[in-house]
Symmetry: C2
Subunit: 610 residues, 2 copies
């Protein structure tokens, strides 16, 4: 792991070696303008680094940078891989930040954290005033309804006497979380945690200043038991030990990041009083150690839906033992706290008109909000977008083809600038969009097979289409140009997988719009949440019909909105209340029970523009 | 340990070998008439056992039993030591029971336990009804304010599916303690626990029938760190580890008894949903693992005073992990939950007139109630009553002199009928009362020293008075008649210790009466709580002026009233509320701040009748 520090703001993030500066910026939650999704074709992600750290043999984006700029270290963030610790100045920090504000409105949050500190100067007890320590403490607090906390009471006398009865009480409403010697009112920290099936991100926040002090991401260690939620559920269903094992894995991963974030920010873990957590419904269950077995089969029943608050020590989360862990509410078995986080982040109740928000991952969660209604559904978008179920599919890591252009021949760009190993979701969308546009596949998704149609293609493309015993396939990269020494192909089956995935999402969108009673022309915006939304080429997404046919400017990538929602709840009790309001307001449509879903789904399979 | 079963009722108790049947009855909470306090002189404690188990060489109370009675196994309970498991029929069960009712009014308690069970027949979820398991459960319960419990939710799906959605929910108000497969509404158990500095007693109770299923006592394992509360506090004050050690000791001791009680009653520990605990303030702190350091020095500040409820798993108490442990409120640093238990047991708010209740142990806690007031104080009665600080003092165990008669010579009776080893509190009170009456000591407490006064004594008594380099002493038992082969004596210092102890209690009583504004003639009753109260000879207690000068019939021993209070709270929420009412109502007088205490104390030292 290497550390990237972004200026101004000194936001720090740990990423694996070889990540691009852009990937680091996304992990850090630092806004970075990008119109091409990291392809190196828009030149908007200009940042400045120490020129001595630039590899002179590498193209850092010379098309968009003057020699003078390059001499003082300007590079494109999407072109530079980070090999050792690096400090990065953001060129368009201000603009980008405002954009983010406008979208996620994070900086609009009025700071009103649930965690409040009170410095108390207590009178010492005497024989005339034998008030117990606990009662003495509570009497000095703004609320008299403070509930007793055994583990804080246990060491209270020592704290009081050591500090000569001058202490700071840490409150979360009527609950007391800590009593600290002296006046510590200026130090107040919390965590926003986004537990992804694949990646877990943690933000250490200063609750008084409302800013991220440091952030870090780690692969969810539960991956050892499978990449998707179903395999995790299957493992947990074996018994309480397996369930506990999965819980301990995710908590263990979080605790490792927390230690690092604390060290680099000079914050002790006992000063982290609250953690706000989002994740899909399965991740939420596993995080709490609650049996998720019956989320897998229909009728997909979660154990709980409401917001949950537990003491950190109950979960073993490495913050103040009596600190509070708040898990945002879920909506349904496959619309989780992360989706509620998105609703909070975009202030779904304040957006004018109609808003469609899509979080594309292993599952596609879709929100359609407007007219004081929030509709949600989830579609088995399928792991195709994450590269699974695809012959040469892989996650968005070094060597994954992320951009594909097809004109006379095929041009592929892999992450990290290396020779390709496979293809990730955004590459897949690009590839299929380009194949459809160039005539390599029919609108039905079938790879062209009549001689007439083949003859219309340039010879170099014709060569790439071939039949195997398992059906047709299209060669994206010839063996000699790959890292793996074999042809990287898209098979007919791969294309079908993607068709099913995008068909499911489009059908979900159609059902929600039908339920809301609106047409395309009434849709004011489409927000793409999640890292995938940042990487995807909007053109290609429109091209394959993954997104409804709208003007590009109505479509916006909003980054890790789920995590932003967690931050906002951490910073404001108002947002916390809203999270539950949104979850309660949400009308979840279970697509599998709808007679019209199959119909919409089949309609949505075609690659024809609709 | 041997087991004694009392009929009718099959109440079982474990006692150490050699305990008398009467001691077993007291430990079991079985009411047994006794007017002489176990001296064998009143003949009221008649019980029937298997005649083959009677040792024919032993006098089982022939003065009070016909030959015919003895043939069928009638014995005096105070005369028979138990060597192996024994079943005992109570002759006067009914009378005795009524007496107990009248005193402790335990059977008056209207059963209204906090723990309630609800059998639920839930509908199975469907795709049309995706209600989460937790919400489904709560919707079927009488209260909709049930708070979420992570550890119950964790395994809820398994329970629901295994039991085909037919389950029993266990509630304590708005809190859910357990969800059990099937209909278990007829099984509902709890514990009443009395944590003494010396001995801990546990009663396993059937909450539906309101009866004790089994009970057991064990020496508080904290004794390894000293016999009195101050030495325990001193140990705990060394640091959190020592504090934890003391907590684990008491919990460990309790858990051992609980396992035994469960085994013998066919109750599983997961069916024990609540434990109500009493103990003095130090024991309460240590039980919860709360630092008691500042209870020791003036101004004697406890950390908490209110009733505390925690989950069993938090303390490691071996009942249902999510079961509730309720510690009754304390009044002050030296008037604890045990004293509040006494208030509950005697229904202090319903007794007409004025009631004085004294719990004599290491400390003497005194309650004076009347006119809707409850006054309390505690006196450093001193360990003299428990045999400590006395040259040949010992606890009330086998070989302890418990009765002393002085006429022409001294006659001593030791517990267990063995040769004496030392003397316990009740023996000490007897001895001093008899010494005062027979002229061995002056009213001032000084052992007679003028020849004139010595000459008035019978020669056998004269021989027993002797001077050593450390002052005068009185030989109670000559070496050859003891088990230890040396003279058992009472020294002048021993007498002074007892004078200080009884003086403190009498002074406490006087101060309370003065504060209440009443004289002796207005006192309607004196209740002696605790095992000591059962053993003490009222005559002697009056004789030395330990008790106010009242007619004998106004003085009553009420046994382990603290434990009875715990039972009542377990059986009735009304009593639980009363416990807190009483604790809040109690006006605690800190004797050390009162100018008049020293004066009353010195007045109370004399052995003259007042």
């Amino acid at each position: 792991m290497v550390q990237v520090t972004f200026l101004p703001g000194h936001t720090k993030v740990e990423v694996s070696k070889g990540s691009t500066i852009m990937q680091a910026a996304i992990a850090a939650g630092v806004p970075l303008e990008s119109a091409c999704g990291g392809r190196g074709t828009c030149g908007k992600c200009k940042v400045q680094i120490d020129p001595e750290k630039v590899d002179p043999t590498q193209d850092v984006g010379k098309k968009f940078l003057s020699d003078a700029e390059r001499e003082v270290g300007w590079v494109l963030a999407c072109r530079v891989a980070v090999d050792k610790d690096l400090t990065v100045k953001l060129s368009e920090y201000k603009d980008a930040h405002q954009r983010k504000t406008q979208l996620n409105q994070l900086t609009d949050v009025e700071l009103a954290p649930g965690i409040q500190k009170h410095f108390l100067q207590l009178t010492r007890p005497t024989v005339e005033d034998q008030t117990p320590d606990w009662d003495r403490l509570v009497a000095a607090l703004p609320s008299q309804k403070i509930s007793f906390n055994r583990s804080i009471a246990a060491q209270l006398p020592q704290v009081l006497h050591q500090a000569n009865f001058q202490v700071t009480a840490v409150l979360d409403g009527d609950k007391i979380l800590s009593v600290e010697p002296g006046d510590t009112t200026l130090r107040n920290y919390g965590l926003a945690i986004d537990i992804g099936t694949t990646t877990t991100v943690v933000y250490l926040m200063d609750l008084l200043q409302g800013k991220v002090l440091a952030s870090g991401a780690v692969t969810n260690p539960q991956r050892a038991y499978g990449a998707d939620v179903i395999s995790r559920i299957t493992h947990a269903a074996q018994g309480p030990e397996q369930l506990q094992e999965l819980q301990e894995l995710v908590i263990g991963g979080l605790n490792e990041i927390i230690v690092e974030l604390c060290a680099k920010s000079d914050v002790s873990k006992e000063e982290i009083y609250q953690a706000v957590v989002v994740g899909n419904t399965t991740m939420s269950h596993l995080f709490l150690g609650i049996d998720p077995t019956y989320l897998a089969p229909a009728p997909f029943i979660p154990v709980f839906r409401q917001e949950i608050e537990v003491e950190a020590r109950e979960l073993g989360l490495g913050i103040l033992r009596t600190g509070h862990v708040v898990l945002l509410p879920n909506v349904a078995g496959y619309v989780g706290a992360d989706t509620v986080g998105v609703m909070v982040a975009v202030k779904v109740d304040q957006l004018p008109g109609y808003t469609l928000a899509i979080d594309i991952g292993t599952n596609g969660e879709i929100i359609l909000a407007g007219e004081k209604r929030i509709l949600t559904c989830s579609t088995a978008a399928g792991p195709a977008f994450e590269g699974a179920e695809i012959k040469y599919g892989m996650r968005a890591a070094d060597g994954a083809i992320e951009r594909v252009t097809i004109q006379d021949d095929v041009e592929c760009v892999a992450i990290g600038g290396t020779k390709p190993i496979g293809i990730c979701g955004s590459g897949l969308i690009d590839a299929i969009a380009q194949m459809a546009e160039s005539g390599v596949i029919y609108a039905s998704g079938r790879i062209v097979n009549s001689q007439v149609d083949l003859d219309k293609l340039p010879p170099s493309l014709q060569q790439r289409i071939r039949r195997t015993t398992e059906g047709s396939e299209f060669v994206l990269v010839w063996a000699k140009e790959t890292e793996i020494g074999e042809d990287i192909v898209l098979t007919q089956k791969d294309i079908r997988e993607m068709q099913l995935a995008k068909g499911a999402i489009r059908a979900g969108v159609s059902i929600l719009m039908k339920e809301m009673g609106i047409g395309l022309e009434q849709l004011d915006r489409v927000l793409l949440a999640g890292a995938f939304g940042n990487y995807i080429s909007k053109d290609s997404a429109l091209g394959i019909g993954l997104l409804p046919d709208l003007p590009l400017e109505k479509i916006t990538a909003i980054g890790n909105a789920a995590g932003d929602g967690a931050k906002m709840v951490l910073l404001s009790q108002v947002e916390r209340i809203k999270a539950t309001e949104f979850a309660n307001l949400a009308e979840h449509l279970e697509l599998s029970t709808r007679m019209d879903f199959q119909e919409e789904f089949i309609d949505a399979l075609s690659f024809e523009h609709q």
